[in-house]
């Protein structure tokens, strides 16, 4: 497949860009932050997005979705990155919608149309340590009658404070460090024994810490088969990783473009600073890196769309590279803007914070470089 967007994609991008720049410019994000909004996003805006079909973009039509394909979802996230738009899109419509494909008919019927309509938000309850590490999962899922009993805790669950349900990875056998023996469950947030606390991170979005105290789930809540939870979850993780990569690309592009504009206006020592070769060469290098990120993101999206089960290596490429370059883009923005770049009044710091979080979520550079190296046999 050619590494270019189709006309249909470009139309979606234009629509998304128009909508987001009008309804959710960076000032919106600022006001959510400054008002200490507990969710960090606007339910009303999310409803509008759902009405445009975004919430169900990956969901089959029979459940009320658009079934538009993954590249479209990535494009929306890229545009969301540009304006720092916060929403449960990644959690609910990308990660959960992908994972629930493997759910029972009952689970799908229960949840998919609610996701598509924006009525329900689903978050991924995965991490237990400070680094993304699915195989390290130690939360237990003991057999209990026809169902399971969950015990343990999960942290840094993004969109967790807004969630009506959680995708939960728990250990039904084996021990922490083993890829086998993990099982994936769909758990209603109102279930008894489940409690959540908000964690405030630097990107001012909503994150939850969850405690599962003898939470009972039914056999129908199991996604896929027992012990194969990681296999079930892997496509959803990759969807999330590519989604974050696309979002970081949007963030980085926006940082880079506004910095370049500034370089063309600002004078120091009687000269436009954009005429200093030292800054020019760094800008040109960053431009080149961003082009590489763009290629990786497009390819990862296309590969995932074609074959969600075998897109891990390119997903890792996109996630690693976009995080690395995102950090560079934010650093260069602040440094080239100079003193004012350090003030909260400018947006550069907001992008720097969001990129920092996004590059850490679902695996940082080292995690994905390591995966990539293993695939490449060294």
């Amino acid at each position: 497949m050619a590494l270019v967007y189709t006309e249909e994609h470009e139309m979606l991008r234009e629509a998304a860009k128009g909508f987001l720049q009008e309804k959710s410019p960076v000032t919106e994000f600022r006001s959510l932050r400054d008002n200490q909004d507990p969710l960090g996003f606007s339910r009303k805006l999310w409803q509008e997005m759902a009405e445009m079909g975004w919430a169900g973009i990956l969901i089959e039509e029979q459940y009320g979705g658009l079934d538009f394909g993954f590249t479209g979802a990535a494009l929306i996230l890229e545009e969301m990155g540009r304006t720092l738009c916060a929403s449960p899109f990644l959690s609910s419509s990308v990660i959960a919608a992908t994972a629930l494909r493997f759910g029972s008919e009952e689970t799908k019927a229960n949840w998919l149309s609610k996701i598509a309509s924006g009525e329900a938000v689903i978050a991924l309850a995965l991490e237990e340590g400070v680094k993304h590490d699915p195989v390290a999962t130690s939360m237990t899922a003991e057999k209990s009658g026809n169902g399971y009993r969950l015990n343990g805790s999960k942290s840094y669950v993004f969109d967790g404070m807004a969630a009506d349900g959680f995708l939960v990875l728990a250990r039904s056998s084996g021990e922490a460090g083993q890829a086998d023996g993990l099982s994936l469950f769909m758990v209603d947030s109102k279930v008894s024994g489940l409690s959540s606390t908000a964690t405030k991170l630097l990107d001012s979005r909503n994150y939850a810490a969850l405690v599962f105290d003898n939470v009972e789930v039914s056999g129908g809540d199991l996604i896929g088969s027992v012990g194969a939870g990681l296999t079930m979850l892997e496509p959803a993780l990759n969807a999330g990783r590519i989604g974050l990569a696309a979002e970081m690309l949007g963030c980085s592009d926006q940082c880079f473009e506004s910095t370049t504009e500034y370089l063309k206006e600002r004078k120091q020592f009687g000269q436009i600073i954009g005429s200093f070769q030292g800054l020019q060469h760094r800008s040109a290098h960053l431009y080149s890196e961003l082009e590489l990120v763009r290629s990786a993101v497009i390819k990862a999206g296309q590969d995932f769309e074609k074959n969600p089960e075998h897109s891990g290596m390119i997903a890792s490429l996109a996630k690693a590279k976009s995080g690395e370059v995102g950090i560079l883009a934010a650093n260069e923005a602040v440094q080239m803007l100079g003193g004012i770049g350090m003030t909260d009044e400018l947006d550069a710091g907001l992008y720097m914070k969001r990129i920092r979080a996004a590059q850490e979520l679902l695996g940082d550079y080292a995690f994905h470089a390591n995966r990539f190296a293993k695939w490449r046999g060294f």
Binding site: Q335, M342, D344, A366
Partner: protein
């Protein structure tokens, strides 16, 4: 017993008697720091006592002459005092831009009257000073500053705006660069002037940084009248004083942080956060090799700081080398904090709450981004190295 030994004994027993017990442990937060000033709110009676006693002895500025309230110590004695203070883990009695910056400038460039008037209250921590250098629109190109200072016969009249004025909202007086001549070439029409922040027409507004609250302010001057005897040095020649102080500042920033967290090296922080393998090595090997690189560079940099001091002592001027130290030190510090952030993973993102001490690490990390901007950007330092050390031609000369 040598004179120095005698001095050491005397110092030790004076400190034993005069340094309150509660002042003999490291500062825990910004409230433990004492900046003095007219409206100083001491956090404890001990803190006040400690400042008064040290100020009376002149030991808040140990090497300044006694006639201006200083300690009148020579280099060797000052070193002994420093060592003895360190031994009992004494907190600094006073943090002060007056001591660090204005004082040295006045001693070198001020008139006898100015020294007598301004230095003693600095030593005693009675007057708190701030520095008015940067302006919006000037940035690295400090010499293009625009704050206007007009000669009105019996006084000067100042109008304009400063930015990045540390603690302007808490300071009593300001030392300030102003433009006294618009005709002269830009470095030449600048003067160095002092005035009271309580003067009519002075107002301040704090700046919030990407890392959160900051001591920085925007400072506005609207028809501020300043007595003519408060100009320091020669009219229109304030740039020399500014340059003298900038070199000073550069050295302070370059070596200001060792990128460690509570005394722990990055490697140790990472091992604590991420665990070690069976050989005791950091489990994340890619991160391990990056930290090793940063630590190698950190050691070599510390040795270079040390060598720079030794060379200065041996009589080789350091000159433009301070640019190199400022450049490398701040860039290294940014790298170190990136690695600390990576080492603590998701927990490094916590911005509020007790566990993270209200986001101490990520706020420090964000704050380091400013190190390579303030006190002359990295780009400016590289320009200085190119020109003054390497002798490469000026881009504009072609």
């Amino acid at each position: 017993m040598s004179d120095l030994q005698a001095f050491q004994e005397k110092t030790r027993s004076w400190l034993e008697e005069n340094c309150p017990k509660s002042m003999r442990k490291p500062m825990r937060n910004e409230f433990d720091a004492c900046w003095g000033g007219r409206d100083c709110e001491f956090s404890s009676e001990d803190q006040k006592l400690w400042l008064q006693r040290m100020g009376a002895k002149g030991w808040t500025a140990p090497e300044w002459p006694k006639e201006y309230g200083g300690g009148g110590l020579d280099k060797e004695q000052a070193k002994i005092l420093k060592t003895e203070l360190a031994k009992i883990k004494a907190r600094p009695a006073l943090l002060s831009f007056g001591v660090w910056m204005l004082g040295p400038a006045l001693l070198k460039f001020g008139s006898e009257e100015q020294k007598k008037q301004f230095l003693p209250p600095i030593v005693r921590g009675e007057i708190r000073w701030c520095q008015g250098y940067s302006e919006p629109g000037a940035g690295s190109d400090l010499a293009s500053l625009q704050t206007k200072c007009e000669d009105k016969g019996d006084h000067y009249l100042i109008n304009g705006q400063k930015v990045w004025t540390s603690y302007a909202d808490k300071s009593d007086w300001i030392f300030c660069l102003v433009r006294t001549n618009r005709e002269a070439k830009k470095h030449l029409g600048i003067s160095f002037i002092l005035f009271d922040m309580a003067s009519d027409g002075v107002s301040t507004k704090p700046i919030t940084l990407i890392s959160g609250k900051s001591p920085f302010c925007e400072t506005f001057f609207d028809d501020v009248k300043v007595p003519k005897e408060q100009l320091v040095g020669t009219l229109d020649r304030g740039w020399d004083i500014a340059k003298y102080l900038l070199t000073h500042e550069r050295e302070m920033i370059g070596g200001s942080s060792d990128g460690s967290m509570g005394g722990r090296s990055i490697g140790e922080v990472a091992v604590l956060a991420l665990g070690a393998n069976e050989n005791g090595e950091l489990a994340d090997s890619a991160l391990r090799s990056k930290i090793a690189t940063a630590e190698l560079d950190g050691w070599a940099f510390l040795l270079t700081m040390e060598r720079s001091k030794d060379e200065a002592k041996a009589g080789h001027g350091i000159g433009a080398k301070s640019s190199m130290l400022k450049y490398y030190g701040t860039e290294l510090n940014k790298r170190r904090f990136e690695l600390l952030m990576a080492s603590k993973g998701l927990s490094a993102l916590e911005w509020e709450g007790e566990a993270s001490n209200d986001g101490q690490l990520p706020r420090q990390w964000l704050r380091t981004k400013g190190n390579s901007i303030e006190g002359g950007t990295s780009e400016v330092q590289l320009n200085i190295i190119s020109k003054r050390i390497l002798g490469l031609p000026d881009p504009k000369a072609n």
